[in-house]
Symmetry: C2
Subunit: 337 residues, 2 copies
DNA sequence: TTGTATGCGTTATCAG
DNA sequence: CTGATAACGCATACAA
């Protein structure tokens, strides 16, 4: 029994196949395939081609993706693995990847993998075939990739895997230079508590800058939520010898710092300067508007997809790419009190 | 020639199939299928089953999704169509849908369809088979759905299609009651400029409430960005007889109202009360914290997916579901000046 | 220029 | 309890 067909018929779905089109056009199925895949260039007569196209059109024919995938071994779908779909920065990156994917005829399948969970079932499902490759955003790709499954990593620079990331070193340097120029010396950092390379890189630059001015680091780790960041910032703010400025790994964290400052009656930037990272839209509606490092999320996504597409196509992939960032000075930073 | 296999071999990918497992286990391929699909209950001996499982495990066998989809007619993937992946509310809804999808063994394929574009290629690609059904969030599903393709609509209540939406009427009523109780009468509304049902419903309630107190509506349409909302709010604020309170279709729009108020030297809530909708995370970090209508985005996504799954399974779907919302009073609303 | 034949990896029927 | 065998719909080598 043809389960598939039956199931569809049960749903009242008379799928039209290339055989139907062939019959309607009075040609063979292979001719239909040739015509519609465009590979009949100069092999199929214009008349036949026309007939086939018209028949396909009239019947509302759409090639079956599963059959094509089975036959060609390519699903024209890539998986996008993120630790939190909810984060606006991921959203923008996804959109960039989407756009690029579409123009290449690919779809994007989304996989949200909360940081605290193992890479489990959903991802495995995709790895079983529906996806031709994967974009891992800030998440560790699985160590074992049977059959050299194509992968590119975003915001990390692992060995042996092509990656795309922001120039977080330059970003961190710019933050620190800006603050130091304003006279700050006790500079704290509210950063990600998860140890991804992008954050480690920033930490290194942060510490290097402090070392140059002979100051100790003041770090507090946080999860990516306003509340947790507020808690982390509180740790810094309530310590003796508290910072006059705080840099953050993310605008979200900076928002938490605003919350912490507010609940302690600290004014920004008069009592405390704050710098974010990403330039999310809401950075401008904060009061005062947040000084932050601008990153082009869409571009990051697009470049990542293109790198992946190249890898899938078997082209030699660029090993690593670093995208520029720039400091946007707004109202949350000022001279040291 | 077997293009698929060749392509994979070229990429150095020796895919292991059920035939390989069968050979390794010394049984037939159909036995392997029976065992691994769990449909061999009481038909396959425990010994054989064990052997097969071990062989599959050792070879790292993973059933080919394309083949399965071709055979069964189900891809176990649903498309999620949104007008803007970048919006945090969509992100949360997606996450809710994701979670539900995973526990049902489904993947979610994301389709971002900017409002100003037709539903084009990317969606069509998914409609060609890779997706078993679609979740349309605030976007009009295509009128023609060949073969009764399964669909559920989020945040709208179209005829003839199952839908899930928030109780925006109750939300709007709550906003208006709250403001009127505070003494406001000149109440403006910054709302979506696109005319989706969810927004029309709100508009109707807004106008009804005003009518009861004998006030004219003050409406300005906006796109979903801070800047555009600021522009729209400006229209209201700069008019003679300007509102003392503004309700918004979305927290994002409310953020824009903050911007507009700020640039005009208006204090919130002393000079202007503002109410948002959605209770996005950033609503709390705004200053003053935003009074808004809380909606459970994750739940919305989960319910939508489950409704879709039921439809795909051919179960009689619930026609429409309305999810409750609640007003969260924070600092952006106060007595009329 | 077109048609025939074959196989992609599954699932599911049916015979043993 | 297990093994042949036949599709699923498409792409392509090869024959005509």
């Amino acid at each position: 029994m043809q389960a598939g067909r039956l199931a569809r018929i049960a749903r009242g779905e008379p799928r039209v196949t290339s055989v139907d089109v062939a019959r309607a056009a009075g040609v063979s199925q292979s001719t239909v395939s040739l015509v519609l895949s465009g590979k009949g260039q100069g092999r199929i007569s214009a008349r036949t081609e026309e007939t086939v196209r018209r028949a396909a059109e009239e019947l509302g024919y759409r090639p079956n993706a599963a059959a094509r995938a089975l036959r060609t071994g390519a699903a024209r779908t890539v998986g996008f693995v993120v630790p939190d779909v909810t984060h606006p920065f991921f959203g923008k990156t996804m959109r960039g990847a989407q756009e690029a994917a579409w123009s290449a005829g690919y779809s994007i399948a989304l996989v949200d993998v909360p940081l605290d969970r193992p890479l489990d079932a959903p991802l495995e499902a995709l790895r079983a075939g529906p996806a031709d490759g994967f974009l891992y955003f800030s998440v560790e790709p699985p160590a074992s990739r049977p059959g050299g499954e194509s992968v590119v990593v975003i915001e990390a620079d692992p060995e042996g895997v092509p990656w795309v990331r922001l120039d977080v070193e330059a970003g961190t340097d710019a933050m620190m230079d800006h603050l130091i120029e304003l006279g700050h010396r006790r500079i704290g950092r509210v950063g990600s508590q998860v140890q991804y390379p992008t954050f480690q890189l920033r930490d290194a630059r942060y510490r290097a800058a402090l070392e140059r001015i002979g100051e100790p680091p003041r770090f507090a780790g946080s999860g990516f939520s306003f509340d947790d960041a507020a808690r982390a910032a509180g740790l810094l703010l309530d310590a003796g010898d508290s910072p006059t400025a705080i840099i953050c790994d993310d605008d979200l964290l900076a928002g938490g710092v605003y919350l912490a400052a507010r609940s302690r009656g600290l004014r920004i930037p008069e009592d405390l300067s704050v710098v974010g990272f990403d330039d999310l839209d809401f950075a401008r509606v904060l009061w005062p508007p947040l000084t932050t490092v601008r990153a082009e999320a869409e571009r990051l996504g697009a470049v990542a997809f293109e790198t992946l597409a190249a890898a899938i196509a078997g082209e030699p992939a660029e090993a690593g790419q670093v995208l520029p960032v720039s400091l946007v000075v707004r109202g949350s930073t000022g001279p040291v009190p």
